[in-house]
Amino acid sequence: MMATAHASHAIRSRLNRRGLQAWSGLLGLLVALGFGTWIYQLTQGLRVTGMRDVVSWGAYIVTFAFFVGLSAGGLIVASAAEVFGVRSLKPLSKLGVLTALASVTCAGLMIIPDLGRPDRILNLVAHPHWASPLIWDVGIIAAYFVFAAVDLTVLHRREKSPTGLAKTVRVLAYIGLPTAVLLHSITAWIFGLQIARTWWNTALMAPLFVTSAILSGTALVAVVAVAAQWFAHVRVPEQTWRVVTNLLVVSLCVDLFLVACDYITILWGNVPRERAALNLILPGGSWQTVFWLEWIVGGVVPLVLLMTPRFRSSRALVAVGALLAMVGVYAYRIELVVGGLVRPIMQLPPGIAKGTYQSDKTSFVYTGTYHPTWVEISIVIGMFALLATFITIGYRRLKVLSRPPESPPAPEVAAHVTAPVAQEALT
């Protein structure tokens, strides 16, 4: 029995080693491709993207907002463990902070290819204009990056001297939670404060961003954890899984509820200017794909997977559910960014100058269109690969998940999880 287990472990280890090499190679390739594509974009200008006036933000900003969500979510998981005493989440604290750090780094980097003049990026520091939500966001991203780095260091150190840093960890958690909420709110306000875009201009924007951040961030942690368990033979306690799964369910429900609130408000009010964007997204509209991705692929399906006892007992299926929930959140980001831009507030012919010229076409567009080009897809994939690289490296270097003991999980872990406080925090 032991012998076969050991043998299979050895095989898996060997496979994992080769797998890791392949994984690293793939990531390196994708990152290099993305970077190369960005260099190409630098030589051509943003005309090689699918963006034009009207839909002037696209895959880069969508991905940026998505990464911000991932980062805030990871930290919220980590901090919740301390702040709300959800001790069953503790095993995931370090992973949460790692994904937070990796995600916020990628979020910050994601802005760069979107800039027309990345060479002038230091103007953000040299000439900050404090009225701009974008400057607040730059500030909070920078602060968050520093915070996550410090937190990760502290958590890492704690593993060596578990007792000494407990207070620091708690303090950091108390700072981390509101910082994460603020990071997400400010990113939401980039959109939500804009009177020119009725689709964005809702007070729901910040709560929605926070909720979807918790959803996507937790989902990322879950996916990484399952991957780690699968490939690195790491075992995450059952109770932790249950909490994570519950957190996913709750945040997904709240997220969809908030989006639905927005839909219903617009539908019932029936103001043409506000209906314009929604009509494109609802079934039948030209952007309905994002609707199906958000509500079915990223909504109903993961809910079924995460709530049906038979399915949720399978960690693989929970991971699939988490992954689909992330797809749903990404779809929501598309819906948000593009939906806010496709129908300009002044719906008058001939529309808006495209900023591009075709000799036999009008230079104006009434309803915006957007199809990301290979350049954007390549850069975005490169950025996802970079995120995965950061997490992989961090995971390897910092041993964010402890190797399972050879023996079954210690009983006190289970005791922690059954503590009433944990239940309360999540219901």
Binding site: P350, S359, D360, T362, F364
Partner: protein, 828 residues
Amino acid sequence: MVELRRRQFLGGMAIGAGALAAGPRLRFLLESEPAGDVAAAATTAAKRQVFRTGHSNNCDGACGHLIEVENGHPVMVKAAPWEDTAISGALAQKFNPRICLRGLSQIQNTYSPDRVKYPYRRVGERGSGKWERISWEEAASTIAQKFGEIQAKYGKPSVWIAPYTGSLALLEGVVGVGFRLASVIGASAGDFEGDNEGDSATPAGWNYVLVDPTNPDNGGGLFDGHEGTDFLNSKLIVLWANNVAETSIPDWRTIMDAKSKGAKLVVVDPRFTPTSAAADLWLPARPGSDTALIDGVINYLITHKAYDESYLRAYTVAPYLVHPQTKKLLRTTDIGLAGKDDYVLVDSSGQPRAAGAADPKSVQLLGTFDVGGLSAPTALQVLADAMAKYTPEHTAEITDLTAQQVTTLAALFATNHPVGIRAGFGLSHWYHGDLTMQALLTLQALGGNIGVHGGGVTTFAGGLTTTAFDLPGWWAPEGTTSFTVLEPMEACDAMLENKPYPVRAAWFMVDNYAQQMSDRNKVVKALKSLDFLVVSDYVMSATADLADIVLPACTYLEKTDLLSSNNFYLQYMPKVISPLWESKSDLDAVTLVAQEMGFGKYFDKTADDYLKDILHIGDPDADSNVAGLTWSQLTSGAPHLNTPTIPYVPFFDKSFPTKTGKIEFYVEMLVPFDQAVCDHKEPIEASPSNPLFGKYPLVFLSTHTRFRTHSQYSNLPWLKEINNGGQGFLEINPADARARGVKDGDVVRVYNDRGAMKVYARLTEGIKPGVVNCYQGGWDTVKVKHYIEGHPNNLTHQIANPTQAVVPNFRSNAAYFDCLVQVERAKG
């Protein structure tokens, strides 16, 4: 070298770009400040030369342009100022700077990739687009040789020179050097001064009523109108089939200023154009029913006695008796009245009097009088009788309006004076367009609105500028006889059927005959049948596509000329830049050919010297309108002519060059055509009474758009950017579209027995059901296609109205709009 003067004058004052933007300011600088100071101020700024020129294309605008030139390129076009004074120095008027989107696109036009850059000889089939570049010398000698051969074989008029309205400048285009060449070599030529493809019906009507075309003093027919600014004097402005807001954009300001002053604005148009949108009253009458609407108003005025009695007595034939049998105006000899032969009027006591002996204040206007055994009605009575059937209800029935709309319009005419009418050339695109103009003038005569400020019926203004010049001497220099006139409407028959004589060669100048002439399939067939075809153009037009030799022409910036059309100002056009590539002005091209043909002696002057001759500069016997003009005055600004009144009003002295000297709303010479008075006639084709209507139930209009001037500028990038990418479309009412299963943006086939075109459908409630419209002038060339297939002129016809022949200068007209089609969704 003289032509450089202007350049030196302005060029020497190159000033900083920043100071150049305001026209009036610039003028102030130029006129009042010593040149040295201005030049000094310029040392730190980029050097630019500034030229004032006139934009000579035929949109009616006759705008003045200020052109800034830097490093040999024109880099800025903007509206130029006008002189506040006449040639004589007398104060004239303030004339607003004029420009529009087309004028502002002229740099692009000049450097367009569609330009013809070099002379070419055809090497493939006609229309195959295969060319071989040749030298000007070779081109000129080939043309000379071919023309000589053909003239020797088929007679001198078998070569047809066709300088056209693509340019309204003096030395080229519609009054240009082509006519001089035709006279010199004995060729035929057309069209000239006013007689344009679709623009001669209303001028003919104008002559019926106001001019005696048989009198040699009138040169075969005149045409003029009120100066645009005269609408400021109108109480009611009626834009009859005239989309000023799109086609004569710079005139819009005057219309709006008049409206601000309280004038009411009426627009008659089956389409809800930007002009219609600005109207106080918009009347979408059925196309082709205009005469009936006018008749309804006339009937209202007569039955309500709302006409100007004293005006009618003094200045019109209203009181003149009409012979009941011959329908001619009654003569004293017809009734044996003593004295020398004269017309007959009836005095207050009912006694006939010779016109010369009657007291004009007391003659009878209405009634039928027994004179000399005849029961003779007055001309006004004849009119009244003919108009009696046009009750508001009957008029409404014919015009598709309501009786209320008819009486509203009539009441406006009855209660406002003066009334100014602007009638677009759209009215002229009808078989009976002449009749409509006759009716409008009749209506205006009743209201006392002719020859007064703020009145008149204006289609074109500025004819005076050409009558004041020595155009006969320009067209037929001493020692030559004037060319044989062959009109565009007659040319196809001459080419295809040798009627009235064979035409085997042609030279088109600024003329896109193969696309812009009606019944295009016939035109293309005729042109392909020619032995030799030369086309001078600055772009590779549909006509150039068919040529044997294509010659590169200049745009208005590359040559010296004069613009004196469409308003009452003289605009010298200096050569702003050197001709691009190997382009030459028509004057230079014609000179080369004439030299090859051995007629060089008639073409031995510079452009400036010709202008001096034509304008009588330095001639003490010069026409009063240009008397005293000096060369430096001409080249340093745009002065107003010495007109008797400013704004200019035709017949301001109420002296009419008719047989009677009166306004002849009773047109004696049209008795044989049953058209002595303006009784409505249905269109020759586009009428529900036409049996063809069952098969082709839609009236097909091919109007002008603001985005081009006929076929010029159709392919300019800026204008295409804002005009659907240059893609043509068919305006159709949603009701008509629904009936045919056509949705917005669908490809439709428009067809009749003459031809077909394919184009995108554009649904709009702005067009009357039963009417469709496709903007004409898009290109259908070998390289460029602005319609999916064909051109509106594939559908139009060449049926001429013989009535117009009584006015030699306006004897035939293409009735573009008098056209029926059917529309269906194109398959596939």
